[in-house]
Subunit: 222 residues, 2 copies
DNA sequence: TGTAAAAATGAAAAACATTTCATTATTGTT
DNA sequence: AACAATAATGAAATGTTTTTCATTTTTACA
């Protein structure tokens, strides 16, 4: 397991580092929030432990910033504070859990494992723009409204979201969604794209599905 | 949201009860662990708040017992204790989170929402017997075969699985799945039950959906 | 056992989703 | 600008699901 620890108190940092090493894991220590943001750009971590009090940015600010940057790495906040407002703030800022100091390494491990357990199983929603594709209800949700997709529309949008930013040929869509080999005699792919576009445009004027002439489609969000 | 609160201190219990009502939720209060075990047999709750100190059984014991009984309802422990050992114990006993007293109602709600978020995104399948209901594909899977359910069949089976072992009236199904108020002029609930039974029986001779004459249906698995 | 209420069933009707098809619009190339 | 290839569209045809309805079966209870 790859752990990123943001902690400016040397003694705590070193104890954690050794403990992780002793349990067969690998930890990287950084001393402030900016270094966290740099580190996550370079390496993928399984979990991030953020000290609440740090130089420059607080753990909370780092947490918020990471979520703004669409980073979904599980975050556990380490805090010496006990004020209720902070706990609520932490959870609402996108942290997955927090641990109050003083803590035992045993507790840290228990917390991490609990958070990872939740995370490991697949997500039930795929966000894009201001929207969310709910994989259970097969509908697109925004703040106020919800639109139910037909089955083919759902599978198409899901496929686009899992492959956003890359050109997807009709041939591939045919194979993956309809399980039909190219060439097809009719244009059901185009028709389904049209219908999906229509449903999304009822929400917004944003053009998510762009056509690449002669090659296929490409999905853009953010 | 349906909340079960196990709390023997009347003042705390009443405050919670009122606060939940004020936020459009419904809470049930019980005073000891045995009543918790009784209550979950009858009704499905979205979350259980367990006081650590209670007559007869501690919250921890109740928590362990519920997990032994295969009850997966999210549990949040309410505790006045601050010893680290207890926190670890709580998480290892199968609790999903804990709140230290004193707490604000705001924190309780934030915690519940955080737990529910994890819980929901944690499961994309519901197992029953030797089968699995895949919540993403809306199909029932067994070792070799797979059957795709229609939308109503899917919602019905999902509802049964989330409420297994309890009697479910047609009235409730009508409200929750069709969003239609009783009484109905026609018998679409019975028809959908019939079709779902048929699809399940193509897999197995096991009778999952039992009729309770004059009351509704009850789903049995394991 | 007979009866009335409740539930199950097969099949038609209605609503909805998918696919096909003819036509129009757009794109890249000359 | 003109052309051919590709894509988009509206609407019809087909297929599937949902709902309705008439009838049969099951149940609890006298």
């Amino acid at each position: 397991m790859e752990v990123l620890i943001a902690e400016d108190e040397q003694s705590i940092a070193n104890t954690l580092l050794k403990s992780f090493a002793a349990t067969g894991n690998h930890a990287v220590i950084v001393g402030n929030g900016e270094e966290v943001l740099d580190a996550v750009k370079k390496i993928r971590f399984d979990v991030i432990l953020l000290d609440w009090r740090m130089p420059k940015m607080t753990g909370l600010q780092v947490c918020k910033r990471l979520r703004e940057l669409q980073d979904q790495t599980p975050i556990i906040l380490l805090t010496a504070l006990t004020e209720i407002a902070n706990k609520v703030e932490a959870l609402n800022a996108g942290a997955d859990d927090y641990i109050t100091k003083p803590f035992s390494f045993e507790e840290v491990l228990a917390r991490i494992n609990a958070v990872l357990r939740r995370f490991q199983s697949n997500t039930n929603s795929l966000p894009f723009g201001n929207f969310i594709l709910n994989l259970i209800t097969h509908s697109v949700e925004m703040e106020t409204e919800t639109v139910k997709l037909s089955e083919k529309e759902f599978e198409l949008l899901k496929f686009f979201l899992l492959n956003k930013g890359t050109i997807i040929s009709k041939e591939v869509l045919c194979e993956k969604i309809w399980d039909i080999h190219y060439p097809t005699t009719t244009n059901f792919v185009e028709v389904t794209v049209k219908n999906l576009r229509k449903k999304l445009e009822d929400f917004t004027s944003q053009k998510f599905i762009r056509t690449v002439y002669g090659e296929g489609y490409i999905f853009f969000a953010d």
